[in-house]
């Protein structure tokens, strides 16, 4: 009798599960746990977007412990695990990325964009990466072993938006199974921006272009800062209602910050609320790192396409900046700030500034690059709105 109890206990060990002796578990779980440890390594040692990659990595590990049922329903008790509860609460419903976006809005300074609105076009140009990657995903599907439908392709494309919450929101709406690899790709490449972008920037610009000095930004009044989120919201309401959740929450956070009479709400959005949601969101996204959806050629395809998306976005941002200089030579734009249009706030803007100072240490581009950088956030949300409005009606 004790023997049978010990046997019962042995059958409930993780080892039993890793060896594939329990239904639904196997060595794939072990591999995914190792992937989780790699994410922790990248986050902690390499400092890759640690807030998200620590939580995603840990969520991946917990969810892959055999018979831990942290992210699924325990078949014995019928009770959902705590990560499944969090997932159902905030990812399945889309609530968590929206709340994160409120906090992002409350942390964003649109001042540089208001001072120089034409940098919005750079933020628009850099979204080309999204659609090229989308097309690439559909093309790659001709390769045996890689299969992306239109929903998957849209989710993969949005990696090129270089904006974590937007990528998670779109994927949770279109193709939740791919949340794991897509979120990991999005955050990893955002962390890799200082490595991905500079070679492209140097290749596509001349030294003279990189030395272009831009006019100092004019001061922006408090009233303009208050009216700007309302202006964007109005444009969104008239033109693209499907972007309401993303653009609306971003602009809500920004208005709460800028209006000056709701500072306690702004403070909570940026801190307590954002941190709580980040913890829950990271664990939940990590729970989608399942062997069956991760250990296949599709994931490889996603990683390749994510890199393509970032590169194309960088390129088109740079090229449009050069085109703007041709069309309007009186107000020169340093083309390096075009690459900041991919978003990846504020990393991409810092990279633009740093590459600029290689050519002229006295040329401070950071503030100028913040314009296209935050424009890229709006641009990605607009692109997300198009994907969410059109893709479901195409299938």
């Amino acid at each position: 009798m004790i023997g049978s109890a010990f046997n019962q206990l042995w059958q409930s060990t993780g080892l039993f599960g890793f060896l594939g002796m329990a239904e639904g578990f196997g060595v794939g779980n072990l591999v995914m746990i190792l992937v989780g440890f790699v994410l922790l390594y990248l986050a902690i040692v390499k400092n890759f977007e640690p807030l998200l990659l620590v939580t995603i990595g840990f969520g991946c590990i917990l969810s892959n412990i055999p018979m831990g049922y942290a992210a699924s329903i325990d078949p014995n008790s019928g009770a959902p695990g705590f990560i499944k509860l969090l997932f159902d609460m905030g990812i399945d419903t889309g609530l968590f990325p929206i709340l994160i976006f409120m906090g992002v809005g409350a942390m964003t300074d649109f001042g540089p964009l208001i001072a120089n609105p034409k940098t919005l076009l750079l933020g628009a140009a850099a979204q080309a990466g999204i659609f090229v990657a989308l097309l690439g995903a559909l093309a790659l599907s001709f390769i045996p072993g890689i299969n992306f439908d239109l929903f998957a392709a849209g989710s993969i494309g949005i990696i090129g938006g270089a904006d974590g919450p937007t990528a998670i929101y779109v994927t949770s709406r279109l193709k939740p199974d791919l949340l794991g690899p897509i979120a990991v790709a999005a955050y990893s490449y955002m962390a890799l921006v200082p490595i991905i972008q500079p070679p492209i920037m140097r290749a596509l610009t001349t030294k003279e272009e990189r030395m272009i000095k831009m006019q100092q930004l004019r001061p922006v009044s408090k009233l303009e800062r208050i009216l700007f989120p309302l202006t964007v919201l109005t444009a969104c309401a008239i033109l693209l209602p499907s972007a309401t959740p993303l653009i609306g929450s971003l602009m809500f956070g920004n208005l709460v910050k800028e209006c000056g009479v709701t500072n306690r709400l702004s403070d909570t959005m940026q801190n307590a609320l954002m941190n709580i949601v980040t913890i829950f969101l990271g664990l939940s996204v990590g729970s989608k790192m399942e062997a069956s959806h991760f250990l296949n050629l599709n994931t490889l395809g996603i990683l390749v396409l994510g890199m393509v998306a970032f590169s194309i976005g960088t390129t088109s941002g740079l090229l449009i900046a050069k085109l703007m200089n041709k069309l309007d030579p009186k107000h020169p734009v340093n083309p390096l700030i075009g690459s900041a249009g991919v978003s990846a706030v504020p990393m991409a803007a810092r990279v633009a500034s740093k590459v600029g100072q290689e050519s002229d240490p006295q040329n401070f581009l950071l503030m100028h690059a913040m314009g296209p950088n935050v424009a890229g956030v709006i641009g990605s949300a607009v692109a997300a709105g198009v994907l969410l409005a059109v893709i479901p009606s195409m299938m």
């Binding site: 977007e49 807030l51 994160i100 992002v104 942390m107 964003t108 300074d109 001042g111 540089p112 208001i114 001072a115 609105p117 919005l120 076009l121 628009a124 979204q127 999204i130 659609f131 989308l134 097309l135 559909l138 599907s141 072993g145 890689i146 299969n147 439908d149 239109l150 392709a153 974590g164 930004l217 001061p219 922006v220 009044s221 408090k222 009233l223 303009e224 009216l227 202006t231 444009a235 033109l239 940026q270 062997a291 250990l295 296949n296 050629l297 990846a344 706030v345 504020p346 803007a349 503030m367 950088n373 424009a375 956030v377 709006i378 607009v382 692109a383 198009v386 994907l387 059109v390 195409m394």
Partner: protein, 91 residues
């Protein structure tokens, strides 16, 4: 490594066609929307100047304050940590 069943070729071609449409549609919309926003922002600034002419209050804020992503809050964290450390060290 899991090998997925290949989708039928006709579906792949149809998808690709839809993808091209999506691309044209998407890039167009993004450009139209953000171009419109350029004009709306300029108009907004003009109106703001009329309403409150002599209040160009804040210089565009310093680089340190310009952050829009969760990941960039670390400086604030560090500042808080320093302060907390000081407080503790004086106990």
């Amino acid at each position: 490594m899991v090998f997925l069943a290949q989708l039928p070729k006709e579906q792949l071609v149809a998808q690709l066609e839809n993808g091209v449409i999506l691309m044209i549609l998407g890039i167009t919309t993004v450009f139209v929307f953000l171009t419109l926003l350029v004009f709306l922002t300029k108009a907004m600034s003009a109106i703001a100047k009329k309403i409150a002419p002599q209040k160009p209050k804040a210089v565009v804020s310093s680089p340190a304050a310009v952050t829009a992503s969760a990941s960039s809050a670390s400086e604030a964290d560090i500042a808080a940590a320093i302060v907390a450390a000081f407080a503790k060290s004086k106990e």
